[in-house]
């Protein structure tokens, strides 16, 4: 079926047709209309602290180099030699004075400008580049870059609004809650290749409904539960969202709500209690904030584990999830140890997030079982407004509202 024949029959987004997760043409359109026109998260400044430090990253599915120039500014460059197209950068992290393509040693400055072309004038009067060849026309392609409090975003869109406006006041405030401007400290990175459509990752985080049911860990220890004081908030476009919740005072008490949670296990107790030795570190009472930022970022604060998760689409049926766990430069030794311990909750083997990678796998498989059907997204109604609770799929509906708009579906 061609993309022209694809029709999103319903008004609203309380139904999501399964072909948005499987169709190759939809995927191709997403690359152009979702990722190329948005601010893409590409990394943290703390990953590349010194001039010349670089990381290989992705803006959407596009391989880019994120590098700190000699002036300390961050450059984001497409990882494609201007000569005959090689990936110039072959390492995930490194430090360099220039980027040199191995094939013919064209050399690029850290800002992407082409500085050297061997034999540009020929050898012994022979060969060389044409007289009108101008190195200025042949740099690495540069993306527009902004860093806010240490988090780096880049875009191919020339005319995009400022990041602050892009986030909007509500989301900016939550973003700044974690990215306060204090220097960050990298705890480490985890990477997963998840066999599911990239949008299922966003749905997962925009879906507080599941958290109370799927995650025994969260539920039993009251880290996140349907009866906890909670809010589900969006920016005005609906593309970004945040789930904000507060740990139960008495996590172990069963009540009416827990009766509906098959996953609730009353008697669970840890043998090594340090895993949940949580220290309050933010001024507000929220104990967990999961923020999703269109089109490729999750900012997570759960217990004392802080992380960004970058989504890199890899075809309709897979994406890479790159986690960067971080703390603050002024963390004391106990907090360093605590963040490491709490990291057991997250990542490919996380006590909590392991459940999520498994359900995403099952979702993608199940969607293929009958791709003519549609998801039913009606928990908490059919609207897209903020909710002061988490028994809702409103943030998913809001996400697809904006998605339909930019995708022209």
């Amino acid at each position: 079926m061609t993309i022209q024949e694809r029709k999103w029959n319903q008004n609203g987004t309380h139904r999501v047709p399964y072909w948005v997760y499987t169709d190759q043409d939809i995927y191709a359109r997403e690359m152009k209309q979702v990722f190329a026109r948005s601010w893409n998260y590409v990394g943290l400044e703390a990953e590349i602290p010194n001039a010349g430090d670089f990381k290989r990253s992705h803006a959407g599915a596009t391989s880019v180099i994120v590098v700190r120039g000699r002036d300390g500014e961050i450059n984001v460059l497409k990882n494609q030699c201007a000569h005959r197209g090689l990936e110039v950068c072959r390492q995930d992290y490194g430090s360099a004075r220039v980027f040199q393509c191995p094939y013919h040693q064209w050399t690029y400055r850290l800002d992407g400008d082409l500085s050297g072309v061997p034999f540009i004038k020929g050898v012994g009067g022979h060969g060389g580049m044409p007289d009108d060849f101008d190195r200025k026309d042949h740099g690495l392609q540069k993306l527009k870059v902004v860093s806010r409090h240490g988090a780096i975003f880049a875009t191919e869109a020339e005319d995009i609004e400022a990041l602050e406006d892009y986030l909007g006041p509500k989301m900016l405030k939550l973003f700044d809650r974690v990215f306060t401007g204090k220097p960050l400290r990298i705890v480490g990175v985890s990477r997963q290749r998840i066999p599911a459509n990239w949008k299922l990752m966003f749905e997962n985080i925009k879906d507080p409904y599941h958290a109370s049911l799927l995650h025994v860990f969260l539920v039993t220890f009251g880290l996140f539960r349907a009866d906890n004081p909670s809010r589900t908030e969006m920016d005005k476009t609906g593309r970004h969202s945040a789930l904000i919740s507060q740990r139960s005072a008495n996590p172990l008490a069963p009540n009416a709500a827990t009766q509906e949670m098959a996953s609730f296990k009353e008697k669970l107790e840890l043998r090594d209690k340090r895993l949940l030795d949580i220290v309050k570190e933010f001024p507000d009472p929220a104990t967990v904030v999961m923020q999703t930022i269109w089109p490729n970022l999750i900012v997570q604060q759960q217990a004392n584990t802080l992380a960004t998760r970058q989504i890199v689409p890899a075809g309709p049926d897979a994406f890479d999830l790159n986690w960067t766990f971080f703390g603050y430069a002024d963390d004391d030794e106990a907090m360093c140890a605590r963040r490491l311990r709490h990291a057991n909750l997250m990542g490919p083997a996380g006590f909590v997030s392991l459940d999520d990678s498994e359900v995403m796998d099952l979702a993608q498989r199940g969607i293929h079982v009958d791709p003519e059907r549609a998801a039913v997204v009606e928990m908490g109604g059919r609207g897209t407004e903020d909710h002061d609770h988490i028994v809702t799929e409103t943030a998913i509906r809001a996400f697809y509202g904006y998605y339909r708009e930019v995708m022209g579906l």
Binding site: V189, V216, D272, R341, F351
Partner: protein, 155 residues
């Protein structure tokens, strides 16, 4: 030395068997009370980043992890299969051994073919405690930075 070597090899066999064949509930008994268990990727090791995929600072924490695997996590049924090669033990002066080995782990998810899941390096410390050899440190370093979806069991 020869019998110690065979005993060390037997510990590695049992380590793998209890993960691959079970019962995994017995697996923590291969560790000392104060054992450290870490499953990490080489990427983090090379950058000096402390992050682990699994990190336990005591046998109690290892027991918690095993309990979670068996009782708390929602996972698609699967099985790991460990192959270990090149076990090398160097006495460490503290009545134990620093032991290294290469490993490969194959994964078989129910309904799917067997596939290579991970390969990497063990960097361990083994001691004799209460008559048996046990791991005081078990560091499994996966060569790849990325995990194929989920890491359900230890490497």
């Amino acid at each position: 030395m020869i019998s110690a070597m065979l005993e060390i090899q037997a510990l590695y066999s049992r380590y793998a068997d209890l993960i691959d064949e079970g019962p995994i509930a017995e697996w923590p008994s291969l560790f000392t009370d104060d054992a450290i268990l870490k499953v990490v990727t080489r990427e983090n090791v090379e950058h000096g980043w402390a992050l682990a995929l699994m990190s336990c600072e005591s046998r109690a924490a290892i027991e918690d992890r095993v309990y979670a695997i068996e009782n708390l996590s929602m996972t698609i049924p699967r099985r790991y299969r460990h192959l270990v090669s090149g076990i090398t033990a160097v006495p460490n002066g503290a009545q134990g051994w620093n032991v290294t080995a290469n490993f490969a782990v194959f994964e078989t998810i129910e309904g799917q073919p067997t596939a290579a899941f991970a390969a990497g390096r063990y960097k361990d410390v083994i001691v004799r405690e209460k008559g048996a050899l046990r791991f005081r440190e078990k560091i499994s370093i996966a060569d790849a930075a990325s995990i194929k979806n989920s890491l359900v069991f230890p490497l």
